[in-house]
């Protein structure tokens, strides 16, 4: 096999962080090559080097027989490597055709844009993907999956020999994922190499020909997909076998629920949502990105002015607001830890005490003694690994940061604990610990409502899983009924 793309011994440092320390990747033409690894394993750094956004500190990159790294993204594009990222980089106000040729405008001889040729070539590129839309449509009118395809069309319009797809499926329904996979397979027939990144292992087994595994900035394995199975792949990613967290069967008092929601509406987002979370019960929220899971939790926390009835521990909570959340017994661990969860410059102690002391008289002195109970307990019970609670929370690892957010809310002694993507950006080891903490919280009688885009996570944790589709709860599955396939079926809008 001759490699179309060969990266060997790549090194990259960011200040004190050694993001890559000897990463290799070899991709052949007409191959779908999956790149997997935990968060922080160096995947995105490697991709950024291949797409010319970063230059390595050491190591070599050879593409199509030529050595040398790319000075910038447009050089990578010129030499035939195109990237489609998770966040679309399209200009929403411009037309599909303009977006496809963004950055390499087709000019007439006098320097004006050749619109007719632009549209004709755009048409061809779209047809190649089986996307039947008018190239003159503004991109903002397209569905997310169509936008993704426009990005791919843009990648192909430069005659790319290799396409990098970085988590392309996170906002797509099952059918849309299938359609995307069909396109990737067609590209493979045309001889295009695809580097495919996804955290959904079943997608990797469905699509990839070969897999490269990164761990701690190093390539730890490379194999044909047929030589691997799920446990072996996880073992390679994590570096050890994963301990299974098993949730105990819980006796749930559903007659006196910790949280009762009836007729919750948020125009255009939530439609008549009703649910119960019993004291001691863990309820999961499944659904695609955009199904309204986050908005539901945020509405219950009072971030959106949703109408409807919400009861916490039997008491009606009318004016919901983060300011009243502590008093009302509602806790919310948001999805974006760095943006919404923590004040990164502040110490672990100050972050841990932030919610439980939010109602304290403001001219009181924040004494270590007053906060010692909450802080000490959190540090100990949640096993937060920090040299000292005085250190800025930014110095902790992702998993420990997430435990600080969790500890902050557990210190308020809530009745209901809501979490949005509780293990995003957390390595698999810390995931297990967070699961255990949630199970322990439920056993102490909290009602736990977890939203997650990782279905396996919900299957491990939840007594019951509610599936959302376009702002409605369309299915409620018990632990016995729930399977990954069944949840995906309902999440895609099927009955």
């Amino acid at each position: 096999m001759t490699a179309l793309l060969a990266a060997t011994g790549l090194h990259k440092r960011f200040g004190g962080v050694h993001a890559l320390r000897g990463a290799d990747l070899e991709v052949a033409a007409a191959e779908v090559h999956a790149l997997v690894g935990e968060n922080g394993s160096g995947k995105s750094t490697l991709l950024k080097i291949l797409s010319g956004q970063l230059r390595p500190d050491g190591g070599t990159v050879a593409f199509d027989g030529r050595e040398g790294t790319f000075a910038n993204p447009s050089e990578a594009l010129r030499r035939g490597i195109a990237t489609v990222t998770q966040e679309t980089t399209l200009a929403p106000e411009l037309s599909v055709a303009e977006n496809i040729f963004l950055g390499h405008r087709l000019a007439k001889r006098v320097g004006l844009v050749d619109w007719r040729r632009t549209r004709r070539l755009a048409r061809t590129a779209l047809d190649r993907l089986g996307l039947h839309i008018d190239p003159a449509t503004p991109v903002k009118r397209l569905r997310p999956d169509q936008q993704q395809l426009v990005e791919i069309a843009r990648a192909l319009s430069v005659d790319a020999r290799a396409v990098i797809l970085d988590e392309p499926t996170s906002s797509l329904t099952d059918d849309e994922v299938e359609a995307l996979f069909a396109i990737v397979r067609r590209l493979r027939e045309e001889g295009v190499a695809t580097i495919f990144v996804s955290h959904r292992l079943n997608e990797i087994f469905a699509l990839a020909d070969r897999v490269t595994v990164l761990r701690d900035g190093r390539t730890v394995g490379e194999a044909a997909i047929g030589d691997l199975d799920r446990p072996r792949l996880i073992h390679l990613m994590v570096g050890r076998a994963l301990e299974e967290v098993v949730a105990p069967e819980t006796a749930v008092e559903v007659d006196r629920p910790a949280l009762r929601v009836r007729g919750l509406r948020l125009p255009g987002v939530l439609e008549d949502v009703g649910l119960d979370v019993g004291a001691g019960e863990i309820v999961g929220l499944a659904g695609l990105v955009g199904a309204g899971r986050s908005e539901l939790l945020e509405s219950l926390f009072g971030l959106h002015a949703a109408s409807g009835s919400v009861q916490v521990a039997g008491r009606e909570v009318r004016r919901r607001s983060p300011l009243r959340a502590v008093r009302d017994g509602i806790a919310f661990v948001p999805a974006d830890r760095k943006r919404q969860g923590l004040v990164l410059q502040m110490s672990v102690r100050e972050n841990l005490a932030m919610a439980s002391t939010a109602r304290t008289f403001r001219l009181r002195v924040p004494s270590a003694a007053r906060e010692a109970a909450a802080v000490g307990r959190a540090m100990h019970e949640l096993d937060i690994r920090a040299h000292s609670p005085q250190l800025p929370v930014s110095t902790l690892s992702g998993g420990n940061q997430q435990k600080v957010v969790l500890g902050k809310w557990l210190a308020t002694r809530p009745s209901v604990l809501m979490l949005d993507e509780p293990t995003r950006g957390v390595d698999i080891g810390a995931k297990g610990e967070i699961y255990r903490l949630l199970l322990a919280a439920a056993q102490e009688g909290l009602g736990v409502l977890v939203s997650s885009s990782e279905i396996p996570e919900l299957l491990v944790l939840c007594d019951r899983i509610l599936v959302m589709f376009r702002g409605r709860i369309v299915a409620s599955l018990t632990r016995a009924e729930a399977t990954e396939a069944r949840i995906a079926h309902f999440a895609g809008g099927h009955q």
Partner: protein
């Protein structure tokens, strides 16, 4: 690795981290502090008239107005804002004192107390409410109130200076207690109160939390709107105190005073290492920044350098100080690398954001 070396290793690392923390907390204004000491020594050697008790007293009283305004401004900058209206509010305070004392016939102490209180109420009630409650841009709002208050002052005073003849008001400008001028006492008091509030109250913590990450602060149940309103009230209070000192120094309320105060105060706060992005810094740095500006201006004046050249020097040093801030915040320690490194390197090193930690 054996267990003992592991423990030693951790202990050593903790020590290094602690040392690094102390250094980086002071290093936010260390460069300006070194410069301050440098120019102080330089002027002491080259200018006979610099290092005399009369001149030091003069230096301190001449920065007293900037000092109290900058102390209030520090709270605003810590939340990531800037209060451009402090100069106009300062002039307005003088006018309120004059009106209450001369026209309404109130006792001087009451006129001053009410005027200072009014400064806080106006600062919090207008800037604070518009920015904190309605989420308007601090820049637009305080730029608007800068012009608005100055306009009110000009209309109300008919652009005339009115004298305030009162022993009490005179005492604010020129009085002495145990040999130390009143303005210096006021400087000391504002510093101590500001330091204590920022360092040892939950409100102080709110200021840093709101400046560091307002969304996370809100989602933790902190009343961010109220924090912002209070911060602009404190800035108004500082401006009004400055107005009271100004009135005392002039013995009159002038509609022209305070025009260069907002930019000078912002310069002093930023020189003192408080990040204009918020969440990092404090009043010790601001004190250093004010003293630096004051010493520079005082020394250059004694040396016979024109005030225009003083402006040039102050401007260059301000830009240099902000450049230092930028370099410190960049993970790789260089310009231009920030965008690349975003999301990879640690977003912040072990850097306590408050002074003295």
């Amino acid at each position: 690795m054996t267990a003992t070396t592991h423990v030693e290793d951790r202990r050593r690392r903790r020590l290094v981290e602690h040392a690094a923390g102390v250094w980086s907390a002071t290093s936010r204004y260390a460069a300006v502090l070194v410069l301050l000491v440098g120019i102080f020594v330089y002027f002491s050697i080259t200018q006979d008239r610099f290092l005399t008790s009369a001149n030091i007293e003069n230096l301190l009283t001449s920065v007293s107005i900037l000092w109290v305004v900058s102390m209030g401004m520090t709270f605003v900058v810590l939340t990531g804002g800037i209060d451009l209206s402090v100069g106009s509010l300062l002039a307005l305070t003088g006018l309120i004192i004059s009106q209450l004392f001369n026209d309404a016939g109130l006792p001087a102490w009451l006129a001053v107390a009410l005027a200072v209180l009014a400064g806080a109420v106006i600062g919090g009630g207008v800037n604070g409410v518009l920015i904190g409650r309605f989420g308007l841009s601090f820049f637009v709002v305080t730029l608007g109130t800068l012009v608005l208050y100055r306009g009110i002052v000009n209309i109300w005073s008919d652009t005339k200076t009115t004298y305030v003849v009162s022993p009490f008001v005179d005492g604010i400008g020129f009085g002495e207690l145990i040999g130390i001028p009143t303005p210096i006492w006021i400087m000391g008091a504002t510093f101590v109160v500001a330091f204590v509030v920022l360092r040892w109250t939950y409100f102080g913590r709110d200021v840093y939390a709101v400046g560091g990450n307002i969304e996370a602060a809100r989602l933790s149940g902190i009343n961010a709107s109220r924090t912002l309103i209070l911060v602009y009230a404190i800035s108004g209070l500082g401006a009004a105190l400055g107005g009271a000192i100004q009135t005392g120094r002039l013995g009159a309320a002038s509609p022209l005073v305070g025009e260069d105060i907002p930019l000078q105060a912002a310069a002093a706060v930023l020189l003192g290492g408080t990040s204009f992005l918020g969440g990092v810094g404090g009043v010790v740095g601001t004190a250093v920044g004010v003293l630096f500006i004051g010493t520079l201006q005082n020394g250059l004046s004694i040396a016979g350098v024109s005030s225009f050249w003083q402006q040039v020097v102050t401007g260059v040093i301000l830009i240099a100080a902000v450049a230092i801030d930028r370099i410190q915040q960049s993970p790789s320690g260089r310009f231009g690398r920030r965008a690349d490194a975003a999301g990879h390197g640690p977003t912040s090193t072990a850097e306590p954001r408050r002074e003295g930690e």
